[in-house]
């Protein structure tokens, strides 16, 4: 196991792209636009109906809040790191990462940090205030929510890692993360339960959006079933293991910059 101290210097990358206060300010502006957009979307939909496939207005605000937390975490660590990783494969600088005495997958996954993205996650606090279910229950419910959220994050991370590992074969892949963001940004803000079966299957097992957003949100809205919880944890383990194997298989394709 690598000690956390060894990874800590990589967090210095947070200072790389500009003064932090200004980036936080821009992060706040971004989050505000995002928040206004999503609230307006929910308002327009619920002007026409009281329930969207069994989800009330408050439930949907919770869901959008969970989506904001997940995108905040992805945007803070995994997206910038995976972008740096993709770039380093193309440039050949991935060589340096391989020579370090820490597992390459770990380093590739946390090498860059964008602290302004914490605003996205923190800003989602607003959603709880707006939502009627805020404070409906603490203790076990919150614990379950956090565990499910972590499991969901594991799955999304695994999926991103597998996508990024394709760069060992295809080299120029910057757009592929874009596609993930479009999928996650569009389909992730709506409950997975309203989609037709074929699309739901895709969004559950191929691109695991359901588990990252809908199921943790259900923990808070009280619509959770035992089967879903078990499935989430089981799938998280499967996704993590599979992506680890895929990474180790893919890294063998890397020929290096000097070879």
């Amino acid at each position: 196991m690598p000690s956390p101290l060894k990874i800590a210097p990589t967090f210095a990358s947070a200072y790389r792209t500009g003064p932090i206060p200004r980036r936080f300010f821009l992060g706040v502006v971004n989050a505000a636009v995002q928040f206004a957009t999503q609230m307006l979307a929910i308002t327009i939909v619920f002007n026409q109906t009281e329930s969207l496939g069994g989800w009330s207005r408050e439930d949907l605000i919770v869901l959008v809040g969970v989506h904001a937390i997940v995108s905040g975490i992805l945007g803070m660590i995994f997206s910038p790191s995976i972008s740096s990783f993709l770039e380093s494969i193309r440039l050949g600088t991935f060589d340096f990462l391989l020579t370090k005495p820490v597992d390459a997958q770990l380093l590739a996954s946390v090498q860059s940090v964008a602290p302004q993205s914490t605003v996205d996650g923190g800003g989602s606090g607003h959603y709880w205030l707006w939502s009627g279910t805020a404070g409906a229950g603490f203790g076990l419910v919150v614990l379950m929510f956090i565990l499910l959220l972590l499991a969901g994050l594991c799955m999304v991370y695994s999926f991103m890692l597998v996508l990024a590992s394709m760069a060992f074969w295809f080299v120029k892949l910057d757009n592929i993360m874009n596609i993930f963001n479009v999928m996650f940004g569009n389909a992730g803000t709506w409950p997975i339960t309203i989609f037709p079966a074929w699309l739901r299957g895709m969004l559950t097992f191929i691109i695991p959006i359901a588990f990252a957003v809908t199921i943790p949100a259900q923990a808070l809205t009280g619509a959770l079933t035992v089967g879903n919880v078990a499935l989430t944890f089981a799938l998280a383990a499967v996704f993590l293991t599979a992506s680890r194997f895929f990474w180790r298989f893919a890294i063998r394709q890397y020929t290096g910059a000097s070879a």
Binding site: Q34, Q48, M183
Partner: protein
């Protein structure tokens, strides 16, 4: 303006035509070579209307929202085509162009850089149609789109509406992209602009189901005329005098280039970004 700066305002039409031929062929070659990249972008354009069809068909189940499930499917299918055909990404690219210095070679050419961008944009749309059209057909079949209002006449009326919308949106967003000359981070501005298209343009929902104030506001702003108007023309929901009013609104300078360009000039800033960059280059 120094005398050594070339005059971009009056290129000879013949030279320009020759430039367009060459540049369009090059841009087409680029998009065909990177067709994987185009396919990924097209997949991205399919996602939003796909999700919204599901959302609005769910809303319309068992209640009257003024539109049937089939009409929602048709609306978002055409919305996808119109959004693809009017799409421009330069406001996201200018920041990178300026930061990386990629703009300099474009500015050194004796032709205004907008011509390069028009070729790039049109060739992408052209190649992208190979993915968008089958996606639209599939979408219509799977979600049972209802085109009962559409006819040959509405399709013929759709052609100029779409062309004007393409020109309108391109000019507005290209002007918006120029903001990158003054601001180093334009992502927030761009995001806000996208939100305007979503709600005031009718990408999120047909304007008819939107709140009153959005509908009223949309008449005065360009977003409605670049997305919602062509969609409704294609579906046969806009005919007669309204059609001609819409055609008139689309190229109106007030809602398009004029506003942005005069705004920029009024502040005493260089008349065009091109000159400003030239000033930077000569410094």
């Amino acid at each position: 303006m120094s005398s050594s700066t070339p005059d971009f305002s009056k290129p000879s039409p013949r030279a320009l035509l020759q430039f367009y031929r060459g540049q369009f062929a090059a841009a087409l070659g680029f998009n065909l070579a990177y067709r994987g990249m185009v396919a990924l972008w097209v997949l991205g354009s399919v996602m939003q209307p796909l999700v919204l069809i599901v959302v609005w068909q769910t809303v319309s189940e068992g209640r009257d929202t003024g539109m049937t499930a089939g009409q929602y499917a048709a609306y978002f299918m055409v919305s996808m085509v119109v959004s693809h055909m009017t799409f421009i990404w330069h406001m996201w690219e200018f920041e990178w162009r300026i930061r990386s210095g990629y703009f300099s070679p474009l500015l050194l050419r004796p032709v205004h850089p907008i011509h390069h961008d028009i070729c790039e944009n049109l060739s992408y749309k052209f190649v992208g149609l190979v993915g968008i059209i089958p996606a639209a057909v599939l979408m219509a079949l799977i979600f049972g789109a209802d085109f009962s209002g559409a006819s040959w006449r509405s399709l013929i009326a759709f052609a100029p509406a779409l062309l004007l919308a393409m020109a309108l949106r391109f000019v507005i967003e290209w002007c918006l992209a120029l903001a990158a000359f003054w601001m180093t981070k334009v992502a927030s501005l761009n995001q806000l602009f996208d939100a305007f298209f979503l709600f005031l343009g009718g990408q999120f929902a047909p304007l008819g189901v939107m709140p009153e104030w959005i509908q009223t506001l949309s008449f005065a702003l360009p977003f409605r005329w670049s997305i919602y108007f062509p969609i409704q023309v294609a579906l046969g929901n806009i005919t007669g005098a309204d059609l001609w009013i819409g055609y008139g609104m689309q190229p109106s300078d007030r809602s398009g280039r004029g506003r942005v360009a005069t705004d920029v000039e009024a502040r005493g800033l260089p008349t065009t970004a091109v000159e400003r960059s030239h000033a930077c280059l000569h410094r």
